[in-house]
Amino acid sequence: MVGVLIRMKWTILRNSLTGTRAATTITGVVAGLAAAGCTLWLTVSAGPDRAGGALLLTLASWLLGWIVGPMMGGSDPGLRRDHLRHVPLSDRRLAAGLLGAALVGVGPAVTLVAGTSLIWYALRLDLAAVPVALPVLPLFVLLLIALSNVVVASVGRVLNSRLSAALMAVPWGALVCLGAQGWVIIAAITGGPETALPAFIADKLRLAPSGWPVVAIEAAARGDWALVAAAVAGLVGCIALALGAWASLLHRPVNPTVIRGARWRGWRPATAAAAVRGKELRTWGRDLIRIHFLSFALVYVLTYVLLPLLINVTDYLPMAGVFFVAFTAANCAHLHSSDGTALWQTLLAPGAERADIRGRQRAWLLLVAPPAVAMTAAGAIWHGKADMLAWAVGLLPLVLGAGAGLLVLISVFLPVRVADPHKRGSNPGSDGAGFSGIVWLALIAQAVLAAPSLTLLITGTVRDDELLRWAAAPVSLVLGVVLFWGLGRLAIGRLANRGPELLAKLG
């Protein structure tokens, strides 16, 4: 059975290298190899006193990546329990078979490459440690895969509600933000990025399962064979536990998320655009992908502005509202894609394109403008100084208008095919995985569109010219209105002229 599933996975993998999926697969391979290369480089290039610390840190990152990855949408589209529901198999054989299939893939391969840094490390320490490193390496890869599958299985079963869609965005948002603001942590802990990993952190990392391979190799180099045995036994035990948990999770059926609508209290929108606005606001509260992306933007921005408090920097706080709007627009620029083939309903309503676009824009503004204004005000008060106020006021109207414009423009010009809502799984992170390219594009576009205001703000700050800095505010307001209207106009034209083509790309 394991053999059959492995062969099936091979076939799926080969098919994923053809057609439109090839780009995604190849990107995955390149990114994975880059990460593996970094791991090897860090271990090989670090000085003898720091190689262990570097390895502990990178292995912990691989563990984190394998656990968080599936929630971020990195889950591999291979074999699923659901595909084999009607095959008479015991849970244990099924788990073993699926594990075997899970071993075939890009992720395990690049992890194995990265893991060879363990052998490098052993070679540096003592030749006697190499025989330990050799079996420890596959155990480490096996552990990551097993843990990852437990996460995937539990995400689908234990957590499936609006709250979980929001909560799943928390580690993602915080982690991605740490990538951008990580210098703060390093500065806070060590006083500089050049220092070796502090001993107290290295000790903690040795306790985590990702640190056990390092512990085993170091112990072997010292000749502490009891510790080697304990570390290897720990790894094996952990794998067994994870597999057991996985098998029992497979046993439980996946309950589809049930979200109830509100009680009917009458709804008489005055115009077609108002009807779209009402539909959109309801959808924002009920669509797991939308909730997930909104929460991601919120968590990211809060982490971004609050993290510098560790080193007593409050300058980011008044900008919270601006960042929130910019991020939310980028994370929401997939409205038509996430609605899927439901577009036919708009296309068949005579002349409804304008209402569709304007309604979506207004609903989004209603959704993000109030919290953005509140965040700006609260941030400004917390910061306590007026120096950042011109920046906040000089950018907020612009990002609101540009965001509402880009949102619909990107949505109709760059459709991304995702499963239709009624055919989706319970993992909004994975379902919305295709949208990450759009996020980057929207962020860059917003920076470009904000250039006039940014130029005034930067020049005003460099020259210490109060008037110039505040001149950004009216510019921002006018640009915001123009971009809201103009980009929306372009989207309406596109939808009216190429609506059927958009539908074909979504179906």
Binding site: P256, G261, W267, A272, P350
Partner: protein, 252 residues
């Protein structure tokens, strides 16, 4: 006066190398109950999507009551109600919310929307699922709510792609009687199906599609030629249904 509810002329669609619909001509007289039949992959859905303005044809024209669907889409769309097969709907709304939304999107007055939605939900037996989102509807309920949205705008022509698939017998009876009354009142219906007895029962005119072409069309008795529609269909599409074929491992 135009007497054709739907007229397709030379309608063609390619998907890459494959010709999905090959220059079909089809005329649906006003007031007729028209059945479009054909095996899976014959091009029924593609043809109907092009006929109502959801899929742009590579060549050919589609007219609804004389209005060109692709040149005057707004006018044509006012005349037709559509039930497509397998497409999503506004899934995060309840049935009542979606119909209300669509009614306003079509520009109907608020009172008309409210009363039509009430009536549709009651007649189609969907009123109990008041707080269930479309997403949570069963396959049969999805067909019924899609039919309701097709009827909502008060169309003169209904284009229904597999309207009876997964619908329970009781609901099917309701839908049949709604459609019969619609035609009796002067409306026209085009429906696609591969359930022949159903088409025989309901339709007065049929067209048979096979491999992207219309291989027969006309009044149902003419197409049947004294046989059952099933037999006529199998003759027309040249299916190989030798009864001798067996699965060797299945016990006889």
């Amino acid at each position: 006066m135009t007497t054709n509810a739907l007229r397709l002329a030379g309608l063609t669609k390619h998907f890459g190398e494959k010709v999905a619909v090959d220059a079909i001509d089809l005329t649906v007289p006003a007031g007729s109950f028209f059945g479009l039949v054909g095996p899976n992959g014959a091009g029924k859905t593609t043809a109907l999507s092009m006929a109502v303005g959801l899929l742009r044809p590579d060549a050919g024209t589609a007219q609804i009551f004389g209005t060109d669907v692709w040149r005057q889409p707004t006018r044509a769309k006012r005349l037709v109600g559509v039930l497509p097969d397998g497409l999503a709907m506004t899934e995060r709304l309840t049935g009542r919310e979606m119909l209300t939304y669509l009614g306003h999107l079509h520009g109907l007055p608020a009172d008309t929307v409210a009363s039509r939605v009430d009536e549709l939900l009651t007649v189609l037996d969907l009123a109990q699922a008041e707080r269930t989102l479309i997403l949570g509807y069963s396959a049969g309920m999805r067909k019924k709510i899609a039919l309701a949205s097709a009827l909502l705008g008060g169309p003169r022509l209904l284009v229904l792609d597999e309207p009876f698939e997964a619908v329970d017998p009781v609901s099917a009876l309701t839908i049949r009687s709604i459609l019969r009354r619609f035609v009796a009142g002067g409306g026209s219906v085009v429906l696609s199906s591969h359930v022949m007895p159903l088409v025989e029962q309901l339709c007065d005119t049929v067209a048979v599609m096979h491999e992207g072409r219309v291989v027969a069309a006309g009044p149902i008795d003419e197409v049947r030629g004294g046989r059952s529609l099933d037999e006529a269909f199998i003759d027309l599409v040249g299916a190989d249904v030798a009864e001798e074929k067996e699965l060797s491992w299945l016990a006889s």
